[in-house]
Amino acid sequence: MELPLFRHNRPDRVVTFDEYREEGGFEALKKAFSGMSPDDVQQTVMDSGLRGRGGAGFATGRKWSFVPRDLPGPRWLICNCDEMEPGTYKDRVLLEHNPYSLIEGMTLACYALGVRHAFIFIRKGYEQAAANLARGIEEAKKAGLLGEHILGSEHAIELDLHLSAGRYICGEETALINALEGKRPNPRSKPPFPAVKGLWQGPTVVNNVETLANVPAIIANGAAWFKGLALNPEGAGSKLFCVSGSVKNRACVELPIGTTLGDIIDGACGGMRDGKKFKACIPGGASTQFLKPEHWTLPMDYDTVAKAGSRLGSGGVIVFDEGHCLVEATLNLINFFARESCGWCTPCREGLPYVKEILTRIENGRGEEDDITILREHVKYLNYTFCALAPGAMAPLDGLLRDFEDEVREHIVKKRCPLK
């Protein structure tokens, strides 16, 4: 079955506007504008079972439905392309090959939500993606698919790029809103939720690149078709899995939701590198728990992975082999979160460096039995922070203590890293 996201990709270059259109691009927009009401579009997305591909996995149609219909004044849509989660590089790959699905998806979302002005918040470092988008927006405008009088109608939709200057917390939706407004990007307290009071106090929807890029195919082919793409009834659609670490071919691949972990690694990625044995992986970017060899046949969909004690997250699968020390791997992840903490609240600002210090000690053979208890306490208490960064940071540590406590203890008892 043809999967929607990479359908237009050329092996080594970005697809052109004409190629995209010849292959059915912008047909969904025409379909929506010529016979579907905004409510119809929203309902189709709701029925399709599409869930946010940024990491949280919240139902997209439901998120859209939280925007009050009758508030006066402008409302906003923001595409979150601030991809900075270690191990996650799907938005980059998607946009470097094809900016048009996102542009069309955003236009459809704007139509459904009654938005006239939308932003693409794009991180520093994604200059190629930004250039592709800027060109695509101009082409769409010239062709009457964006801007004033879209397809001859009364609808006007503006798409603007906002180039950031790099900071992980800008991916958190309320921090992103502050960043876009030109304020210091600390997260805001919720409620009010952005759907009611977001950008410049107006109703705002923030969606990930991959989420919005799915919308044209959903509108063109219908909700049932999208649902049917998944390999299991719990899932819907396809997913971009970006695999890195100990596999033969590290690649960003589009696969049906529900593809098993083993099929991703052995099938799409050609198996483990250098004949190494699979030890563990993090399935959804830096803030997810480890999966183990027993999860090899686990279908990768949001609910099933959650039941297995982890999260599908962003789909950034980081694979570790028997030669990798998972204490050091966790230390690396904590280092990332400690550095990227916005510093707003004390548990996160002070707690993460402390966790880092303890893990460093353990890795260097100076750990003590008590340290495991102290780490466990941090896993517990860093759940109570202002935003989800610190709890996210605790997920791999929690997994380490849950699944690899023996490996941690071995460091302490032997007074060295057993793998070095």
Binding site: H162, E181, K183, R184, N332
Partner: protein, 157 residues
């Protein structure tokens, strides 16, 4: 003092923004390109352009990874030390860069060409280990490739 042309174009950017401070990151980035880093003078100029206090600009400038509030070399090397690059042995590459350039992390080479800074994931995990030099991304680094890149980057401006 920034040249009139730059000032006019920045004023136009601010005027086209929905609120002036929406343009803050763009303004800081442009001024940084002009001065090489975001100097105290640039902070003052950004404040005037954006209608903010210098402290408010400072608050923003110090938040972002790609805004430099200290002098840097002509090209900043951001080398990724996050998890996928760690799996691909970025530690060896980082050590190699330090030795080769004769600087520690955060340091600038004696000739003022390169500043070496570790960074978080740059979305090149599939091609790890990765770095960017003056904004140009490079992946699948080996010591030999690092040599070639540094030489080419040193020679082109």
């Amino acid at each position: 003092m920034i040249p009139e042309t730059l000032k006019t174009s920045l004023e136009a950017r601010v005027a086209s923004a929905i609120t002036p401070r929406e343009a803050a990151v763009d303004v800081m980035k442009e001024l940084q390109t002009h001065y090489g880093w975001l100097t105290d003078e640039a902070v003052g100029e950004a404040a005037v352009l954006l209608g903010l206090s210098p402290l408010q600009v400072e608050e923003l400038a110090t938040f972002y990874e790609m805004i430099y509030r200290r002098p840097v070399g002509k090209k900043v090397i951001h080398v990724c030390d996050s998890i996928s690059c760690w799996c691909a042995d970025c530690d060896t590459i980082i050590q190699y860069l330090k030795d080769k350039l004769g600087v520690g992390l955060g340091g600038t080479t004696a000739d003022g060409v390169f500043t070496l800074i570790p960074c978080c994931c740059m979305g090149m995990c599939g091609d790890s280990p990765a770095m960017s030099v003056g904004g140009v991304p490079y992946g699948k680094l080996t010591p030999e490739l690092v040599d070639k890149i540094l030489e080419a980057e040193r020679n082109n401006g």
